[in-house]
């Protein structure tokens, strides 16, 4: 069974004055298997963010459905959505979404505290993760006292500590310098190697070239996919670049 499955997802926005309808997603179907690392690429306005919002149950599709471990997330009641998200999904955001009022440690604990876990357990879960992410020294600091890369690592720790079935990352490297980007991508790769399923939306070819599969979205549809297969990062990078060039040139089909 796939961990995530999108079946014919369609999303139509109606503009404020009711007249124009905008079709953000036409018909998106794909599967993500357990342990996969998938990158979704596309230009601005291609529908990436809408898709991510629907996968994250932040938004509901106009048609089609999303299955998480075979369960229709559309069936989750509105009142239970936040808890569902908390228990099953982990998020990494472009702008970190750390609360200034908490230390990094408390920021990381936040979802667990919401789940009602005790301090002992939280602490025991955090230690290996903090070590892996190299943020043990920073735990007592506040978000505004550390760099962007460190903030993002704390945000990743907050995501991983709940042991989510699926990590959804929205432009996780968007606000980072190149060194921090490399570090974060290494972390993602490590985590994935240990079995964590990751779905990442990104603009960055470099970020996407570290994934196991790259999915291209154009005009609200899955336009093309590249599997890493035996390629190295560099080779995958090249393939992605070529694909993007072709998309930019308006080709309707791609042969790579």
């Amino acid at each position: 069974m796939s961990i995530l499955e999108a079946q014919g997802v369609r999303k139509v926005y109606t503009t404020r004055f009711g007249g124009n309808k905008v079709e953000a997603l036409k018909n998106v179907s794909f599967r993500v298997e357990q342990g996969e690392y998938v990158a979704i690429m596309g230009e601005s306005g291609s529908g990436k963010t809408t898709l991510l919002n629907i996968l994250a149950v932040l938004d509901r599709p106009t048609a089609g459905r999303v299955l998480l471990e075979g369960k229709d997330v559309g069936a989750v009641k509105e009142s239970a959505v936040a808890a569902f998200r908390r228990d099953n999904l982990g998020f990494v955001f472009q702008d970190f979404n750390l609360l200034d009022t908490f230390t990094l440690e408390d920021n990381i604990y936040l979802p667990l505290v919401l789940m009602g876990k005790g301090y002992e357990e939280m602490h025991n879960r955090l230690m290996p993760i903090a070590e892996k992410l190299g943020i043990q020294e920073l735990l007592k600091k506040y978000p505004y006292e550390v760099s962007g890369g460190q903030k993002q690592r704390a945000a990743v720790a907050r995501t991983l500590i709940t042991r989510p079935k699926l990590v959804l990352a929205d432009e996780p490297t968007g606000a980072l310098d190149s060194k921090s980007t490399d570090e974060l991508l290494d972390i993602f790769a490590d985590v994935n190697r240990l079995g964590q399923t990751i779905l990442m939306v990104t603009h960055s070819v470099k970020a996407a070239s570290r994934a196991g599969r790259v999915m291209f979205i154009r005009d609200g549809e899955v336009f093309h996919q590249i599997y890493r297969g035996e390629s190295t990062n560099e080779q995958l990078y090249q393939k992605i670049s070529d694909t993007l060039t072709m998309i930019a040139n308006g080709k309707s089909t791609v042969y790579v």
Binding site: A83, N97, L110, L114, Y144
Partner: protein, 686 residues
Amino acid sequence: MKHNIYPKLAWTGIKKNKRLYLPYILTCIGMVMMFYIVSFLSVNEYLGSCKGGKEIQQMLVLGSGVIGVFATIFLFYTNSFLMRRRKKEFGLYNILGMGKWNIARVLLWEGVMIAVISLAAGLFGGILFSKIGELCMVNILEAEAVFSMSVEKSSVVTTMILFSVIFALILLNGLRQLHGANPIELLHSENTGEKPPRGNWLFALCGIVLLCGAYYLAVTIENPLAAMIIFFIAVVMVIIATYLLFVSGSVTICRGLQKNKKYYYKTNHFVSVSSMVYRMKRNGAGLASICILCTMVLVMVSSTVCLYIGKEDSLRSRYPRDINITVRRGSAEKLEDGNLAKRRAVVDDELAKYNLVPENILNYRIAAAVGLDSDGKMDLSSSSGYDFNEDYTNVWQIYLVPLEDYNRLMGEKETLEPGEAFIYATKNKYRSDKIQLGSSVVFEIKKVLKDFVDNEEDSMQILPSIFLFVPNYEEVLKQLSGVADYYGNQAFSERWMYAFDLSCTEEKQIEIYESLKSCLSKAEEEFRKENLSGKGIYTFSIESFASERTGFYALYGGLFFLGVLLGIVFVFAAVLIMYYKQVSEGYEDQARFEIMQNVGMTKAEIKKSVSSQVLTVFFLPLLAAGMHLGFAFPLVRKLLLLFGLVNLKLIILVTLSCFLVFALMYILVYRTTSRAYYTIVSGMGN
């Protein structure tokens, strides 16, 4: 750039930020209105022509001064809120290519618009409501009301000048801030990074010590005279302590809670405690200000209301009977019964002309001196009893009263041996079981009496009094005749008190009072001629309850009116601070609200946590104010004693109901402002 773009920009600026500007403009209007009304009343001719009106007007002049100063400080404070939020907009204008000069012109237009609106509406409202103010005052003075509208030009002019100056200063301050900032700073002025709040336990400790000290002072105070001075010391201590505790103490407590891992890492406490630290750090000063304003309002309103309601009581203790006559001895000669009988006959004969007899007669002898107490030894020569620079902590007014007069007045049959005495103390507690007058005369105190008749001299003055009831009164006075007072005169001087009620109208009483006065002074002249040796010089004073009443009412009514008026002004201020606090917190919490949602908090959870924080933060000042009021109560009571108000039940009742009314109002304000808060937080605002 077209010229009318500035007023247009200014106007849309105000309109777009109406959530911020509307309360500000309303406050300006309110301040203008209040100032005009008070200033109008202080010069209003009709009020001045009423009995007691002049006295009230003097008080109102002071009141208008207080309002003027307060308005300046307060409008500056609220304007700083506005500027902080507007800076971003100005930064944007600047980046879009508007020079500082252009922005200054927008600011100028804005200032002018607000000033014009506030002055016009404020004066209009002031003129409209000044009549109500006048009617209130006239009613307090129990004079005839006239129903004609009048406008005091001089007050209009003063109000316009004062507030124009205030608005100009506010504008200049805004321009100064604008001048000193660059566009990037302007853009980001709202969210400049914040240092982690660290509770300073030393400050918190200082706050606790100061507060306990102030409370201790307030509770242990016995002498009302000392209460005056200590009141001010305690007020200053409480103000400092409140600021320290709100700013630092609260953060320290939250930090302490965070250290307790079992407590802190619970769903209910986690978010609340940590955001509370920030909230308190940002709003500590504002909350402390609210708390102090609340306390001020409560103390002021409750004490002036007490005075006003209890004015009949105070009046009665100051003037125990309708007509009160005191005859004082002018020299070393004793107040003989014969001398007294002659004067009493004069009074009774005069009354007979009106077909009246004195009723409820108070008729007793009394000898008075001022003494400095040290463990039951009264030093009669070291205190003048008049000098304001003296330390009055242990100074007593001592009255000797013959025991037989006491028995007669109170209907008792007490007997005492020579050297024994009963004691009755007012305004303070006398602790020793002995009392020594001068160097030789000592009394053993057999009993502390609970009651004695009101004595006008005692209620008039602020010294606490001891009434000493002695069996062999004349003997004792003879023994004391050698003791000198501060000025070298004989320490004890004797009086004869003769007071009575009359069953006739108050107008009649005043008429009788006038004629008694003239015939007593005529009689005194004749007695003096009969007794040319010069030993028989007596002075007398006569006071009428009815004729003093208006003056009394003017004083108490004036205090009451001012208390309520200033109370309203301060409440205005407190409400506005609360409102701005809520709104600015709303904007800050907006982002946090979103993040928490992203992390997986449900809307209900967030709302619960946020509302519990808001509730705590909001009601903390009220609780603290209630506590301050509770501890201030003994002090306030002592101060009211100075005004002759002894009715404890009344004071408690009034204070409690003031607090309840205030709390009710507070809750109403909370409900309105928290609605504004939720609108902003849930993003329906901008």
